[in-house]
């Protein structure tokens, strides 16, 4: 029964993807303008050419590394601040307006300022980390609060030392929640990094390649790169989900 359900879910997902593909094909025939919407087959053919190009893989690797750095920085800072906020009510209140400012400040304004302060290579990393950090902080704090609610009485009653609480209770029990959301956070980070690369004209980047394609009105190339980024996002989400299943073996 469980296996049948698994196949049913996979079939439903595949149906959704096929439906989107059919919408693209239908839209192409309705629009009939390759500069607005290229055909799927042209984009697919361009994808093949891109994958055979060594410069694409260099750009792909650089963009992936920037996304990874932004992800790790936001996770480290977000989780550290969430632990401090959970353990100290005063810090939670102190951090609240800071998080609000970071969440609300326009991304474009940040990018334009960073272009003056740092290199085009660093701009996408910093802006992505700033976009991801409030989401990571909120998710981590909610997870820690839930752990505290369930087991706070136990640790207070038995006077469990702080480091033991953090290392054996808070972080391991908050980890499943964070790992489950990691895929989505990583994908969002990728999107923001590429936006940053486009605006900063970052050398040897997927965003830079997309910008070039747009400048030369090479719509098939632009669509092909978009599809490849989508595929990259799916793979990253899959890797995070696999890591979640591997690490959280103690859950039923």
């Amino acid at each position: 029964m469980k296996v049948a359900k698994k196949y049913q879910n996979a079939l439903l997902s595949l149906t959704a993807i096929v439906a989107l593909w059919l919408v693209w094909i239908a839209a192409y025939y309705i629009v009939r303008n390759d500069y607005v919407l290229p055909s799927f087959w042209d984009a697919f053919a361009e994808m093949g050419r891109i994958l055979a190009d060594a410069s694409f893989w260099r750009a792909f690797w650089n963009t992936f590394l920037r996304t990874l750095w932004a992800f790790l920085a936001s996770m480290a800072l977000g989780i550290a601040m969430a632990v401090c906020s959970h353990l100290t009510a005063g810090l939670r209140v102190f951090f609240a307006p800071v998080i609000s400012v970071v969440r609300t400040v326009p991304t474009m304004a940040v990018i334009l300022m960073l272009l003056l302060w740092t290199t085009p290579s660093m701009v996408p990393v910093i802006v992505s980390a700033l976009v991801l950090f409030p989401a990571v902080y909120a998710a981590a704090l909610a997870a820690l609060d839930e752990v505290g609610e369930n087991y706070g009485e136990l640790t207070r009653a038995f006077r469990v030392p702080l480091m033991r609480r953090i290392g054996k209770m808070y972080l391991p029990l908050a980890a499943p929640v964070m790992l489950k959301q990691a895929g989505g956070i990583f994908s969002l980070g990728l999107k923001v990094v590429i936006s940053g690369e486009v605006l900063a004209s970052t050398y040897r980047s997927l965003g830079g390649m997309m910008q070039d394609a747009q400048m030369y009105l090479n719509m098939p190339r632009l669509m092909a790169l978009t599809l490849l980024v989508l595929f990259m996002g799916f793979v990253l989400e899959g890797v995070c989900y696999f890591a979640y299943r591997l690490i959280v073996r103690w859950r039923t």
Binding site: L154, F158, V160, K168, L173, W250, R251, T252
Partner: protein, 225 residues
């Protein structure tokens, strides 16, 4: 441990109203009452976990047994014990798990244990934690009759070995009749009755004892306090 004139209010609700008690060492004291009688509040006062008016003399280092086992799901049975224990007592964890009937199950995670087994781990944890007084907050409340009987017998046997002071809160007269040396009944935040129970625990679970009848009468009567 002596409690004198303990009062505790939550907003307009009086949880404890001039309660005075002298808890005997090395005995099991049951605190009984209906919901809202002040039982858990009294336990929190003993534990020092809540503010109150009045005085407590001879405060003890306490261990706990909660109504639900509160086992960390990411730790095995053995690791759950070690999580709260000082390192000096870690070596005794496996032996204690054997005493509570979980020999061979030390490496099992909570989701691999039955409800009764999880509560056994919690009982092992409570008894192994270095303490002068063990506080139990309705530890047998959510258990079926046969499991309740076996766990009460387990607690009684562990008490025989440790002889620590135990205070446990319950609303089940049968648990008090089976396990306690002394029964204290709370009604509306005041002590309605306080008497010694005859015989040694564990007493019969399925027999109706005089203590049980007396407790039922006290709890169901409208008494002017």
């Amino acid at each position: 441990m002596i409690l004198r004139d303990i009062c505790k209010k939550y907003d307009k609700i009086t949880a404890l109203d001039h309660v005075s008690l002298a808890l005997e060492e090395r005995k099991i004291t049951a605190i009984l009452g209906e919901s809202g009688a002040g039982k858990t509040t009294l336990l929190n006062v003993l534990a020092g976990q809540t503010s109150f008016e009045g005085s407590v003399e001879g405060r003890k280092v306490c261990s706990y047994l909660f109504q639900s086992p509160k086992l960390l799901p990411n730790l095995t049975a053995e690791q759950n014990l070690k999580f709260v224990l000082p390192k000096s007592v870690h070596a005794a964890a496996d032996e204690m798990l054997g005493k509570v009937g979980l020999a061979g199950r030390e490496r099992a995670y909570p989701h691999e244990l039955s409800g009764g087994e999880r509560q056994r781990v919690a009982i092992a944890r409570a008894f192994l934690y270095p303490h002068e007084m063990l506080l139990m907050d309705e530890p047998f409340a959510s258990l079926d009759l046969s499991l309740k009987k076996s766990l009460i017998e387990l607690v009684a046997s562990l008490w025989e070995q440790s002889r620590s002071s135990i205070v446990f809160v319950t609303h089940d007269v049968r648990e008090a009749a089976m396990l306690a040396h002394r029964a204290v009944v709370l009604k509306h935040g005041r002590v309605a009755a306080d008497f010694a129970v005859e015989g040694s625990p564990p007493r019969g679970f399925f027999e109706r004892t005089p203590c049980e009848e007396r407790l039922v009468r006290i709890l169901t009567e409208e008494v002017e306090l």
